[in-house]
Amino acid sequence: MEAAPSSSSTSTSTSTSSGGSVTFYDFLDRMRNPASLDLVRSIKSFIVSFSFYTPNPDNDGKKVQDFYLSMEAAIREHPLWAAATFEELDSAMEGLEKYVMTKLFSRTFASVPEDAKIDREVSEKICLLQTFLKPEHLDIPAVLHNEASWLLAEKELQKINTFKAPREKLLCIMNCCRVINNLLLNASMSENHALAGLDDFLPVLIYVTIKASSPCFCWYMYDESRPCPFCSKNANPPQLHSNLKFIQLYRRQAKLVSEAAYYFTNLVSAKTFIVDLNGKSLSMDEIKFEESMQAARLTQTNRATQIEASPTLQGQTDPTLTRMHDKEKDTSGGSSYPYMDAEAGELTVGDVERLLSLYKDVVTKYTSLYKVVRHLSMSKTEIPHSEGTSFLLTQPEGTNTKIDHQRGN
């Protein structure tokens, strides 16, 4: 079971952070008690009932919220909770939410194609923006330029994908916002920078959100469920839209209030700003903005096409090779190395030169990769190797772009 996100890192309010996994184990314990058999049955049949319907986020959200309410009433009346305090009842409900939504996660998270599409659009926009966006473009005051704080806030936000329970996802947002709040408070104390509330907070949150959502561009094919060992970014950028929607629909409504609702709204607001962002949204010349976006688009297209078209790392375009490559393009995996499916008998003397050049290319890439990986393992960086998709590919950056395209289809 995943650990609950810690919320003790800052000094500001912790209203939504009462004990994490401890209460969850308490919940599971009580559910193992024979006296709670009726509750367990309701929960199980509710979860099973979801497999009978096709996903419809709004209906699903309502069903889950109604279920929370009816279970809350049932728990309140239940002999096992006869003398329970409000806190105990509440932690039972937190446990229930976590249990139900962990079970229903794959059925409810980004469950319709429209949501996946919006996620993709948001992350594509972010990919372009992060190539040129600077804090100055959002008028973030110099006293708030603090790479360490921003990085910490990014890390908190990135954790959102490591949790399935809505409460824990929400806590990641809260923790990210707390880091930013602390930055603002510190600046006001040490730099005598007047507290300007959301005027200062929102630009920083937007900047952090963009940085936190940039996917990894390393060309190392790693286990996609973990951050890249090279740049520690995610293969899958945080699915900003789907995460927000998931919290909105499945966090107990009584808990998405007050401060939690406020910081949640701020991330919704940051996402909305990013989606609608155009040349007029930034402190930047409009023409320069369009040029930068265009340049970023070109770089991305190049990344994608380079890998399709060029069989060698340096992109030396030997016309015969390209022809060979084109011919064999449909044989999966063989596109960069045209002789992969060739039989010895088919080879001619004329192939020797090309084979030798490919051989040298492969060896050069292999040795340099080997050095990098060795260096990394010596510095104790964990590298998931040779398990399933965790496989070193000798391909230039762009591999991820390609994957994204495939995922998009």
Binding site: S13, S15, S18, N181, A194, G197, F201, A254, S258, E259
Partner: protein, 200 residues
């Protein structure tokens, strides 16, 4: 610009446990109210709130201090309490389109301008119109002319504020976050104007 009031006390952790979060308990005696602050950047929105939250010297008050979300409970003479949950918004022009995300569901909107800045007064009128179009129909609105301590630099006459507020059915007050003038009065007046849930 800037707040001259002291900084928020970082150690005042939130005491309110789960109870206060219980489904938005608002009964006739204890109201919980979402209040949204609107106004140009630099008019002192955040300062008004900091002054309000810091100005209450009840050490047992459950104060959450963030840089942009604050809450404060006040007790009225009729022994009811009102907990204001104050939602700050970003005043810069480029974030104007995001405001509906914040004022959705707000029971109170406090629209702030700077009495030394006619531009900020025009912006305040823009927010009032926005709220009339898109806010909750029964929203309580207050128009606040801040920086009243800078009277010698005044460019928006008091009467203009009064007239505009009257025409639009709003409560009007001039405040100074710097001297704390009228800050508590602002929130007390708002509290009095809140619709009460039927005390059945």
């Amino acid at each position: 610009m800037g707040c001259s009031s002291s900084l928020p006390d970082r150690s005042s952790g939130q005491l309110a446990g789960l109870n206060s979060e219980n489904g938005g308990v608002s009964d006739a005696k204890n109201l919980r109210v979402k209040l949204v602050l609107l106004g140009d950047s630099g008019v002192g929105k955040s300062c008004i709130v900091l002054r309000f939250v810091r100005g209450q010297f009840d050490p047992t008050s459950k104060v959450t201090v963030g840089a942009s979300f604050l809450s404060q409970t006040i007790a009225l003479q009729d022994s009811t309490t009102v907990k204001f949950e104050i939602w700050d918004t970003a005043g810069q022009e480029r974030y104007a389109a995001l405001a509906p995300l914040y004022y959705r569901g707000a029971a109170v909107a406090v629209v702030v301008y700077d009495i030394t800045s006619p531009d900020s007064f025009a912006k305040a009128q823009y927010w009032v119109k926005e709220l009339q179009k898109h806010g909750s129909p029964d929203i309580v609105m207050a128009l606040v002319g801040n920086k009243a301590d800078l009277n010698e630099k005044r460019e928006v006459p008091v009467q203009d504020g009064i007239d505009y507020a009257e025409k639009n059915g709003m409560f009007f007050i001039e405040t100074s976050a710097k001297t704390a003038d009228n800050i508590n009065q602002l929130f007390e007046e708002i509290a009095k104007r809140l619709p009460r849930p039927a005390s059945s």
